[in-house]
Structures are given as C-alpha cells and as structure tokens.
Symmetry: C2
Subunit: 433 residues, 2 copies
C-alpha cells in the first residue's frame, strides 16, 4: 500500500529546523528549500519559540500566526520550544531545541543557517567546546581572569588553541548564526545525539542589519512594521503568505507587538521587589541585583533601564532575558530542574497533511506527551501538579496569558489561549494539483 | 514674649482635618474656613492620603503638589496618612487618620464635612456602631443572613433599632461624607480619643456628581481634566493656587494621572499569580480569589475587569482596593500587624511658618518619629528592619516609586522620592503684610 511505503520513507529521513520565525521571511524560505535539496526528506519539522524569544522580547505576532506562516512555506509540523528554553542563552536554547527534535523520535537531520557554511570547521570548534581539552581550558581561564567577557575570552582561547585556523576563526566566531550553529553541534557532540547536521550559508543582509532587501533580516522587517514604512518594502522581503498573515493579525488587533510593550509591568515589578528577591532569580549573580535595582530606581523607561544596566559583562539581550525571568519569577532552582529534565512535551502549533501523518508516527516513536489540543495541555498540567512537566506547561501558559495582554485590541486579550487554541491546520493537499 | 504666648495658644486649640485633596477645591476651602470660625484655633493640621487613595486609585497629582495646594489655602501642616490606612475601607481609613491626629499630641479638634451637618444625630449613630448593643447586633445579623450586603444590612438595622429617627436616617446613611464622619466619631468613641468633633454641612454638588459649579466635586474636576475640558470650568471650582499647581504639574509631565494608568501592571500581575497566592491577600475571602482570576483571564482592560468582578457584595471601590493590595502583595497578616500598631510616624509633606512652629511643639508632645527630611525616613527604615515601622515606611516608599512611573514625562519618573524629597515650605509670612 502507498500509505505504508510513505510511512517507511518517513522513517528514513526527516528534516529538523530550529527557528523563531519573527516573522517568517525569504531567508527562512531559502534555508528551508536548500536544506530539503540535501536529501530525500519525508517531512520537515520545525521547533519554534513561543510568544517570547531568545532576545528576551515578545514576538511580533503570536506563535500560532507565526506557525501558520511557516506551514504556508512548506514546513510540515510546528512544535513549540517551551519558554524555559526559548528565552535562554544560545547554549541552553540550542540544547532545549535539539533535545526536543531528538525526542520526537523521528527527526534524522538538523539543518541550520550559518554565515560560514563550513560544517567541518564548525564541527571541529564545537568538539572543543564540548570536550574542553585541558590546554584550551587553561587559556580560557587566563583570559577570564584578565577581566575579558566570556564570549571574547572564549573566542581568543579558541584562536590560540586552534592556531592554524586563526584567520578563519576570526571570521566565524562573531556570526550570530554561526554561534547558534556551534551550540547545536556542541549539544549533538556532548550528548551523542544521532542527528545529522546540515548547514546552509545565509543569504543577504546581516542579522543585525536594518536595511530592506529580498533577504532582509527579521529585525529589519520588524523595524519597517513598527515605523509604519510602506508595505512594499516588507512585500519584497517575505513570502506572500507571511504578508497576508501579518496584515490579518494587524487588522484583528493582535499585532505588531514591540520589544517595549511590556514596559510598565516590568518597571513596576522591579520597583516593588527587593534586591534579596532578585538575587534568587536565574542569571542574577555577582551583585547584578544591586545594578538592576539602582537602574529601576533611576530610569523612567525600559529602554533607558536596559542601557543603564548594560556593560561589557552584561549584553542587552542578556539583560532583556534577565528582566523577563524576573517578571516571571524564574528562580535558579527552577531552571536547574528544567535543564535536568529537558523538554517534557510536544506542544503542536500547526501541521500540514503530511505533518498530520508524521504526528501519527511520533505518537508511536516518542516518549513525550503530545498536545495537539489545548484541553490536553490543561489536563496534563492539572493532573501532574508539582512535576517539571506541569511547571513547564504552567510557565508557557502564563507567558501566553501575559503576551495576550499586549494585543492592541482589548477584545482579543483573553487569557488561557494555550488551553483553548487548536493547532493551525493547512488544508490537506490534493495529490496531482 | 509674643512667641511664648503664641505657643500657649497653640496648646489650647489645634484644628485637625482628614483629607485627600484630589485636588484641593472650593468645597475644601469652605470646610477649612467654616471650621476655623468655630473656635480660636492656633493652627490647622491636615492628615492627607499619599499617592494612592481610599478609592484604591492613584491620585491625580502627587502628594507634595496636593500638600502645596492645601498650604496655599491656609492649612499649616500636612502629614501623610500611610498607604496601609489611606487605601482602606471607611472604618480603617478613619481609624488610621484619627489615631494619627491624636498621636501628634497637639490636635484638639477634628473637623469634617458632612451632607447632614447634624453632629448630635451622627454621634448617636456612631455610638451604636461603637458599642453594638445586643438587640442591634441581632437585627444586623438577621439582615446579613438574608444575603444583604453589609452597608445595606447595617443601614436597615440602624433604622429598625433607632425607630424614631428612621426618616432622618434614610437621608443620612447614604451620604459618603456622613459615612466617613460616622467612622471618625465611632473611632473617637471606641478608643476614647479626646478630640472634639465639628461638622460642617457640605456645599454644592454631590460627591458622585460630575457637573462643574463653584462647588464641583473633586471627581467632576478630575473628569474635566482627563477629558481636556476648558480650563475655565476648572478655574471656577478651585482656588487660584490649585489651578496654578495643577497647570505646573501638567507642564512638568507629572500630571494628570488617571485611575487606569496602572492598567498593564495590575493586569499582568493578576495573570501571573495563582489563586492560592491571591487567597493570602488582604480582603480576598469567600472565594473572591477565583472570581478575580476568572475575570483576569477573560478581561482585556482594568475597567472591564472591575465591571466583571463587581457584584452586590463587591463594590467597585472595594475591588479597586483589593487589586491594589494584590499588586503590593499586602497580606492579611501584614494588615493585621499595621492595625495593631496604628500609625508609627509623622511624614511631613509640607508646612507654613505657623506649621513649622507647631512642629516644634509636636516634637515635644508626640511619641512618634517625625520625618521632615527624606533621609530621616530612609534611615528609620534601614535601622528598624523587620518592625511595623520599617514595613509601613517601605510600603509608602514603594507606593511612591510605583506612582512615579505613572508620570507622563519619563524624565520625572525617578524612584526613591520619599527618601529624597523635602516637605513643601510656604515662605514664612512677614507680620503686617
């Protein structure tokens, strides 16, 4: 039977991707299409951040809308990366995502974009990061004791340790996509995860760039939206479906959410809590609690606050994330527990017809709970009170409830959406059309 | 010597007033002037709410600006009613304020406005409230068991118990100024406080009215400000100094603060906390925690939330106060401790030349700490950690820090103002000018 054959094919090769899709743009489409050309893949599964991102900011539009964009571009199944991994530094973000892909039980390959495109060199570096040879560690330690920030000390230590590749390293190490890619490869190496890595060289403007071109960065597209630039510029940078979905979300009053939309809640919370409370929050150490409290006292806006806390040691994204942990009262102990367990469930945000079939396969192969209805997620949370599973769900759900309050239209701000929203389903494709 | 004679006069009669001055208007001026005609008073002291009010809302402009309005109208000394009393139901508000006046050691009279103006009848009712005769209690209990709200059951029980005065009672009991007046008189009676009460009949439009006249209510004046009505209408309702101060505060970007300005912080906080946490908050009982959480989940704005929680049992002001307690994490135990101790300090918001002299008298007569500099308040808070005194100061200070974030101009939102702001001082009056 055709169906059985197809199922066997799926067992052979399934492509995994990690993304934020904030929003889905031509660069994401390019990665998707190029990756699929690298093998005979039965389906593509993307692990995607929810409503809050690795930069510690709320997403432009909600996770279901972003999943829909990806489905339209050909991703078959969208799974949410829980908040407790999605809003973390590169290593823990990568670790949560790679573990989630592996725990589906069906993903065989991991594709990622990189500025470099040189997989073997990236793997070589990732191997050093994973195994930390003694002499590398000694150089790193020396740099840190000289007061260098960790990324800089690490970069210099790698250059000194690897010697011959020094010039290439100087090009590779600053690339934000390279950095994430290195962390995926490091996790694969560290944990012996049987995912075959693929890397596709990124096209177009750099990650931080804000000019618009066919390969504009997500950041440039968001800026264009916030600044109400003409839609033409956005049109040229995203697939038509992304544009339609963005326009729909804006007209429904559910977009565009900016990085400062949580301003009051974050500032008020910081003024109410004590330094002692702050000290228990994840990533608050070395007296950062005093630095944050002082800034909260002297600053009038979130942007002023970020700039005030920022230093060589604390980057803006790290500060943003820390402020988010503070608002959500995420303690060091809680995060330790989440990291110990890794992802505990697959929250399905959307699927295509092919995605639906692979979900059946996952139900057989995966040990994780699969939530393809909100009510299932709620039940699992209620029935497992006190476990890491319930805690992670509760955190995701609270994040969604807080995010919903940022919608421009008050009528759309209802809470409990994680427990009531169904995955986005693209109409099953009719063969031959 | 003239100075000594003056000091002796002060010892004879000092007028006390309890107020919110949100903002100070012609009705307040009328009360002040009429009260002072009732005796030979050496000075007038007002106990005034800080930045948050009995309705559970932030004030129109900050406490120093409102103190300045009152000083200009002839009040000599402004003392802050701590947050933990200022944002409470009528009885506890009145109790905190009357205790504070008494604890100055110098106030001899308490003046208050009332719709009724009939002191002896108000005292008669207050006596019943203070002593709760058995037969009155029985009627009250019966009414409550019939499901009546407490104010309605109390009103009907008083009417039945007092019989002969029934018709007058029907007129007296609904008046918001009468209600507060009754509570002042009740506290005086209950605690045997040696303050002589005076009541002045209110002039002009009712408390809840929103039309503007020479005796417009504070509410009507605030509405006119929020709605950007012409200044002429405000001019006719407030003394010139109030108008100038309001215009200055607006131009400095520190006014006008509306009742919904804390919207996001309150809503986000409600979505983050659990019903179990809510249950520990002061005034949350009888399952109100579930009612609040449900409303927080279904509502998109603070106004919608209030209307959604509102019922026969829970008035809008009670809900507003409860939301404030929730934001400031005020537990039942904490409030019990505060009520046990009563006011622990005199935070001086402003004084006239006469007020400065009476402050010297208070320093001799009062057992409470007197803060006429922010730094003194901070030191007392730091040095008495863990006591009711330090807790109350810390709460006041956090309330001011949160309030400052509501200022329209970001540059004015600095925290720590309670610990850095000096009292408003009206230039000493030169005799004979």
């Amino acid at each position: 039977m055709i169906l059985e054959n197809e199922q066997e094919n799926w067992a052979m090769a399934v492509l995994g991707i990690v993304a934020e899709y904030n929003p889905f743009h031509n660069g994401h489409l390019y990665l998707l299409e190029k990756s699929r050309q690298q093998g005979d893949f039965s389906a593509t599964i993307a692990v995607m951040s929810g409503n809050f991102l690795q930069r510690g900011e709320p997403a432009l539009c909600d996770k279901w809308a972003r999943a829909e964009m990806a489905l339209n571009a050909g991703v078959d199944l969208l799974i949410e990366l829980p908040f407790c991994f999605a809003t973390r530094s590169a290593y823990y973000f990568a670790r949560g995502a790679v573990q989630l892909l592996q725990r589906t039980g069906v993903v065989t390959h991991l594709a990622f974009g990189s500025e470099s495109g040189q997989l073997s060199l990236l793997q070589k570096i990732a191997g050093i990061l994973a195994h930390e040879p003694e002499s590398y560690k000694a150089i790193l330690k020396k740099g840190l004791s000289r007061g260098l920030s960790f990324p800089l000390a690490r970069s210099l230590a790698l250059q000194e340790f690897m010697g011959a590749d020094k010039k290439e390293l100087q090009e590779i190490l600053p690339g934000p996509n390279n950095i994430l890619g290195l962390e995926y490869l490091r996790v694969i190496e560290e944990e012996g995860i049987p995912l075959v890595p693929l890397t596709i060289p990124r096209q177009g403007s750099s990650f931080h760039s804000s000019d618009l071109s066919p390969f504009s960065s997500a950041r440039a597209i968001r800026q264009a939206l916030y600044q109400n630039l003409s839609w033409e510029k956005i049109t040229s940078s995203v697939p038509p479906a992304t544009e339609e979905i963005l326009q729909r979300e804006i007209s429904l009053g559910r977009a565009a959410i900016g990085p400062d939309n949580l301003d009051q809640a974050i500032m008020v919370n910081l003024r109410l809590i004590s330094t002692n409370y702050l000290k228990g929050i994840y990533e608050v150490s070395e007296g950062l609690e005093f630095r944050i409290k002082e800034a909260a006292n002297s600053c009038g806006t979130l942007e002023e606050l970020r700039q005030c806390i920022k230093s060589k040691r604390y980057s803006l994204t790290r500060i943003n994330r820390t402020l988010l942990y503070t608002l959500f009262a995420l303690s060091k102990n809680q995060i330790e527990l989440y990291d110990q367990h890794g992802p505990q469930y697959l929250h399905i945000l959307g699927f295509s017809a092919k995605g639906q079939k692979i979900l059946q396969k996952i139900k057989i192969k995966s040990k994780l709970k699969i939530f393809s209805r909100g009510s299932e997620m709620k039940r699992a949370c209620d029935e497992n009170q006190g476990t890491a599973l319930a805690d992670m769900i509760s955190l995701d759900s609270r994040a969604t409830d807080v995010y919903s309050l940022l919608f421009p239209s008050p009528a759309t701000r209802r809470g409990g959406r994680d427990f009531t929203t169904s995955p986005v389903i693209l109409p099953p494709m009719v063969p031959g059309t």
